[in-house]
Symmetry: C2
Subunit: 485 residues, 2 copies
């Protein structure tokens, strides 16, 4: 099918139900489909939205175009969970049914205020001349997950271009703030714009967030500010960032800075760190984080990137979300760890010590937790076939401190932005890996979450070998992971 503009923006009621039923069945039956990560019920998934704790449960939405593996008319698809691991699919949650979001209910956030959930998001409206007007919209959801009236809160002021979106709602000292991704109209550079309101109705612009003296590329998307162990972490996506400011390999980066304090009234982060990549793998973007009532900061990422294609595009579905990651700061470092409840998915535990071949039948849903002793070099092949012509390779050097994830032989993956990702580690230290595989998704948590490498791969379903190329001193535990959806 050719995805014309008309087709992408066709109202959902102009699509037929039989097509949707087949798209849903196609996504559910795909061998590449994830089974313990949130993934498309049909079509394309992008940014996580509205990640929040409401009425005693975690809520999470994602951007959805239910009709194909392209960016078309977006809605929010709704899930909830008691433990951040087992999710219940609640179906379409927020639809582009107002004039202000006529061309998409774009990304946003949510926060329980009183006994309702306040959702703040960007309505993407196009005029007849295809001029984009980014309306920032507020809508209340009640305990039965029913939405109230959508209200336009504000649009881009004159000095900000049409690239003005993804509001994060923040409550601080009895006042509400929103931070948004923005591009200034004059210089066309990326910014985080700060707004405030006393009542969630009248909003005023406070100004661009001062957190770096560097140029943030041509546009910023998906800013989130969360408190983590007394620090303030700003997670954001600066498109067009100069690689001399912070190096990255993906088409667009998902970066963060850590600041000592956030003074939103004065739109300033105090003592911000340099920019760092949030994920060192291939496919993470648009991460959304929030502070839960238990005091913890949780993050979840879109596994997928704008302007990148994947083999399942041919199956009419694309992308997924990462597992939820708990953020902590230890010894001045931001760590990302699997949430504790992920252990509830483990079954069929197997242990290994120093064996070259762990298994030829790892399955396609597993966790492999491993400590590789210091002072060694070698390769660990995952999802490998018998002659290793197909594999997902982790090359480690625990003498000089290096780890490389190489997907050059992991099926049909885009090579435009390189097929390996390298991280530098402390020298002569044991290497801790917590590896999660879910059909076509790998997440590698390195040294207790100092790094995460997330990527997609498309090896044959039968390629299930886990093997080292050489004698290696290690300890490992392998679990099959249960299906959640």
């Amino acid at each position: 099918m050719e995805w014309t503009q008309e087709k992408r923006y066709l109202p959902y009621n102009k699509w037929d139900a039989d097509t949707l039923l087949h798209l849903q069945a196609q996504a559910a039956n795909s061998p590449a489909q994830m089974h313990y990560h949130l993934r498309p019920i049909s079509g394309l998934v992008n940014d996580p939205n509205g990640f929040s704790f409401f009425n005693g449960e975690y809520h999470l939405f994602y951007q959805s175009f239910p009709f194909g593996a392209v960016h078309g008319l977006k809605s929010w698809w709704h899930f909830k969970s008691k433990d951040l691991v087992h999710w219940e699919n609640l179906g379409i949650g927020l639809e582009p049914d107002a004039k202000a979001d006529s061309h998409g209910a774009y990304s946003g956030s949510a926060k329980q205020i009183g006994d309702k959930l306040f959702i703040m998001y960007t309505g993407n409206h196009r005029t007849d001349d295809w001029e984009r007007i980014p309306y920032q919209i507020g809508v209340w959801m009640d305990k039965d997950n029913k939405l109230g009236e959508k209200e336009i809160l504000f649009k881009n002021p004159d000095h900000i271009s049409e690239h003005f979106r993804d509001p994060q709602i923040i409550e601080k000292d009895g006042k509400y703030y929103a931070i948004l991704g923005a591009q200034d109209e004059k210089e066309k550079h990326g910014h985080v714009d700060v707004w405030s309101s006393e009542d969630l109705k009248d909003w005023k612009e406070l100004g661009f967030l001062d957190f770096s003296d560097k140029d943030m590329g041509y546009m910023i998307e998906c800013p989130n500010l969360v408190e983590v162990d007394g620090k303030n972490v700003l997670i954001f996506c600066p498109q067009g960032l100069d690689k001399s400011i912070a190096d990255y390999d993906n088409i667009y980066p998902n970066m963060y800075v850590v600041a000592d304090q956030a003074d939103l009234e004065n739109h300033t982060l105090m003592n911000s760190s340099q920019l760092k990549n949030l994920d060192d793998g291939f496919d993470v973007y648009a991460t959304q984080a929030f502070n839960a009532p238990n005091g913890k900061a949780y993050a979840v990422s879109w596994v997928g990137l704008p302007d990148i294609s994947y083999p399942t595009d041919n199956e009419n579905w694309a992308n997924c979300l990462s597992q939820v990651k708990e953020l902590t700061i230890e010894n001045g470092k931001l760590l990302q760890k699997p949430v504790d409840a992920i252990k509830s998915l483990r079954e069929n535990e197997q242990s290994f010590i120093d064996e070259r071949e762990l298994t030829t039948k790892a399955g396609q849903q597993y966790e492999l937790k491993m400590k590789i002793s210091a002072g060694q070099k070698g390769n660990l092949y995952l999802q490998a076939n018998s002659d290793l012509s197909e594999n997902l390779k982790l090359s480690f050097d625990t003498e000089n401190g290096e780890l490389v994830l190489d997907r050059s032989k992991a099926g049909e993956v885009s090579a435009n932005y390189g097929t390996s990702r390298k991280i530098v580690l402390a020298k002569n230290k044991d290497l801790d890996l917590d590896i999660f595989v879910d059909h076509s998704l790998i997440e590698v948590f390195v040294n207790g979450g100092e790094h995460v490498l997330t990527g997609r791969f498309f090896t044959n379903q039968d390629s299930q070998k886990i093997v080292f190329d050489n004698e290696t001193s290690y300890q490992a535990t392998l679990w099959q992971m249960k299906t959640i959806l």
Copy 2:
């Protein structure tokens, strides 16, 4: 919406996708919706179909009309499971897309033959004059759940009326058999009709199954023959059965007989028992059973009945499936027990001894396992509010041997066929109850599965008290049950 004939039989591609998305969200968000039973993704669910073990997993389909709480154009919706408890939703599995099933892919069965699943079902075709032709259709499903070409195997012979459906495929002694529900053309009485084939293509009629000298009403639906502990159990639905033959309270009964042997070649069950109700509750029909490769017999029921309405009709969805029940015969009695894996859903165990009030917050998903000592009379209220004006009542008499399930105060339920169901038990014996509640569904397993009482109820969500009306000697354990879908 008025459900005209035209609307019920509208092809799926004439429905719009937005309507379907909203119906799915409505079903997912309904407070009455089940969360550890298979339930509608949208619209109406009826008979379980194609219950089988294939490619290392259990497969189960249900009859689905995805667009509303009425019997319209039916398809099969597909699920699979490793343990008969955690099910994966695979979406629409078999659609009415051939001339032979133009008015519905009606009920049928499935069996792994070679490395494929052979599905045999009834295509409901209506001529322009609205005359029904029941085609029996075969179709192969491969390991990727893709269907081959549908082939018409046979239709009703002249001596059988249009009521000829629900084939169960059976393999025995290197030959294939199918048993079908039927009505003879001349007398308009119900029968089970037996067919055979060497190659699954050419079929010949062997004759009506001889299993009773009684009149089986005006029509039989959904016959299944399974081997249980050396006996042959025939489960079936004789509509219009005279209550002098076997008493029942529901609009239509789901009955069974136990025979010593089945001689399908001579279409005879040897030494059949009297007819008995398979379920002693309000809402079980169209139970489908099969023999798994592990030698066990499993059954699953439609919780719902033809020609009965339910309050969720107003929410555009209706009915669900029961949990899977393992069939055994002990001391000459057919027992139905929860499968062992249902225990994997238990959490938050609480124990009780003799306390009058167990809890005021039972939640809406729980298992309550209880032994009430012999020689007592009383009432146990479930899903009760504070003044007991709303409740689901179990009245027990362990002196005279009686148990009554009363839903007269359990919200808006149909009263046309009575609001209580009584079973007679041995006198002066302890009473074992294993009670499963899932939002608007209750299943009570009595004395290790000697009886099962299944019913729907529609109490307020906040009515969660479990209390005895008097001091009672008992032991009980209560677990919350995890969500599977």
